[in-house]
Symmetry: C2
Subunit: 371 residues, 2 copies
């Protein structure tokens, strides 16, 4: 078996790449959308269903798993894969994003962050060693560095401080002992400031991580500057390692970051939309609570072959959603994930045959026509 | 294909019977537990999952489907089977139970019942023709008569009035036109009063229904008198037609009514317990919220091969349930249904080999030891 961390570029088309990343739990073909399993479950779905719609790798959240049920318990139960019944690759975030965003009580110093748990308000402290230790105990295939993620609209001084800390913390993260076969990804901060992104990308790249993430975007800023900075940053990151855009899940943005040279991305959007009654389709986002679907016998997306689209009508799903029936949220979640997994798979196929540019233009046109 | 309504007795053992009931959507082997799909969905589960754990026939609720989404819409979408993606047999209740129990605003007269919908408080009226018409539009395989179901502890006068109305209404139900291939079951009322049960059973049996139900039990009365009246009533019902005990779902009671000669039974208990965090097992009912399961690597029921037990631990399900994760409710629901479906299947197997009595004693002993 190929050594975990090996990243093969199968094809490129402009900045877009099709690659294969080897992990301790098997290969991941990129570009890849990664469903989010925050609390050791992709909300509402059985891991077998997640696998059946083509998911290759899923996410777990260090922050949440640390507090409930605790990494020590997960480790005692055989690690996160065994605990949640998913034998494919798992990427865990570092908890940094949650520490900074879930509560405004976080107190940051040069060494780490003190905050209160959203579960019971108890005081807690994360630092690079703690965050990597939790991920080691969880036994994920890819562990993310503990970084400082400033809010959208942060001042240049705040962004610069975050870059300095993120780089210093990345070195500390890299110095910790990973779980056997566990890869580590560095994270680039710097907001929309190209100078800071350049500095951060260069310093992070020099540390020698297995892959690199673009963090601190998709936090409320304008979209076009966000894509421009993504392109700028991706180009600075080593071409022989995977690049991961943290937290993006709308179809157009996924296509745009793939075009910028990003290989991996994740978002809670598909399952969150599912739970609130919406479907992602080529006709745009459908709010199934809308009365116009009451007698609509079509599938959510007539071009989709997911379990929801192959066996149920919009009328039925509308009935379930309007009655707050669990199955409605579940069918929408499985469809939305299948839609994004299929989109990334189609991008990969287009890159491999050198047709990514026309695929991109046609897809963007189709998506924009629907708005 | 055998004509819908044909009921073959495959074996008997004491009063217990193993039979096969033919419906327009295929055969049902009895004794059979019928999962409840109140609002056109067995809560949280995909029909394929329900089928995979051995369900043969499911229930739909006339009251709920009439108000949401309405039988006319269901009919326009091809009927209940097509609407909900379940191609096996479906039994619909008549709405009587909900009319009498969901709100205390019901005003009953000799002709029918006027009440307010639990959905929006709007005035509504059900009578035998309305209830059968809704079931005809839904296109269920078995339609239940519209009956008067008095509360537990009702006076003899109230019980007698209910019997008189139930019989008169049953005649009106029987006079309506069913959907093609739709069977109709009469319902016997009479509370714990043997004389009333005898009278009602004889009068209902004389009408000529495809099967007969014992209603108005399991509504808060003592258990032993309930079993005694079940035995008394079942013996009075035609042996060549299926007998259905409406609304019973705990394992001991299921075995007891099978012993009394009942062939079919349903209950919301397995899915309701699933949603509230409990598992039905041979060790008794387990409350998965209990901290003692936090590090329990066993399956919910080590003897069970359902999707929940074959791939997940009590520790994981406890984590899901304590975090109110949908998958936890789903796994418990699928297990609880599998447990009752398996129990009825085991009873059938025992009857067929003439070993029902020892199976009953051993099973009751096992269940009682666990309490």
């Amino acid at each position: 078996m190929t050594r975990p961390g090996t990243f093969t570029i199968d094809a490129t088309d402009g900045a877009a790449r099709a690659g294969t990343l080897m992990t301790a739990h098997g290969p991941v073909e990129t570009p890849v959308f990664m469903p989010v399993g925050t609390k050791a479950t992709v909300k509402g779905l059985d891991p077998l269903e997640v696998r059946a719609i083509g998911a290759q790798i899923i996410l777990g959240n260090t922050y949440h798993l640390h507090f409930r049920p605790g990494e020590e318990l997960v480790a005692a139960m055989g690690g996160l894969h065994s605990f949640m019944g998913w034998d494919g690759p798992i990427l865990t975030d570092s908890g940094g994003f949650q520490v900074f965003s879930l509560l405004d009580t976080a107190k940051i110093d040069a060494d780490g962050v003190t905050f209160r748990s959203v579960y019971d308000g108890a005081k807690a402290r994360f630092d690079p060693e703690v965050a990597m230790g939790i991920q080691r105990a969880l036994g994920s295939d890819i562990a993310m560095c503990f970084d400082e993620c400033p809010p959208g609209g942060a001042s240049r001084a705040a962004l610069e401080r975050a870059v300095t800390r993120t780089v210093a913390w990345a070195r500390r993260c890299h110095a910790t002992e990973p779980a056997p076969g566990q890869l580590r990804f560095g994270i680039v901060q710097g907001g929309l400031d190209r100078e800071l992104r350049t500095r951060c990308a260069e310093e992070i790249a020099a540390i020698g991580f297995d892959g690199h993430a673009i963090g601190g975007l998709s936090v409320g800023e304008e979209r076009e500057p966000m894509f421009a900075v993504t392109e700028h940053t991706a180009a600075l990151l080593p071409a022989d390692r995977p690049r991961y855009f943290m937290g993006i899940g709308d179809p157009e943005a996924i296509l745009r970051v793939i075009a910028a040279g990003v290989d991996m991305f994740d978002c809670v959007l598909p399952t969150r939309l599912g739970r609130t009654g919406s479907a992602m389709t080529w006709e745009g986002r459908l709010n199934l609570k809308n009365a116009r679907f009451a007698r609509d016998g079509d599938a959510l997306d007539p071009t989709c072959s997911c379990p929801a689209c192959s066996r149920f009508s919009r009328a039925y799903i509308r009935h379930l959603v309007s009655q707050d029936e669990m199955l409605g949220h579940r069918l929408l979640s499985v469809h939305n994930l299948a839609f994004l997994l299929g989109l990334a798979g189609a991008a990969r196929a287009a890159i491999r045959v050198g047709r990514f540019q026309p695929f991109l233009s046609e897809s963007l046109e189709r998506l924009r026509a629907s708005v």
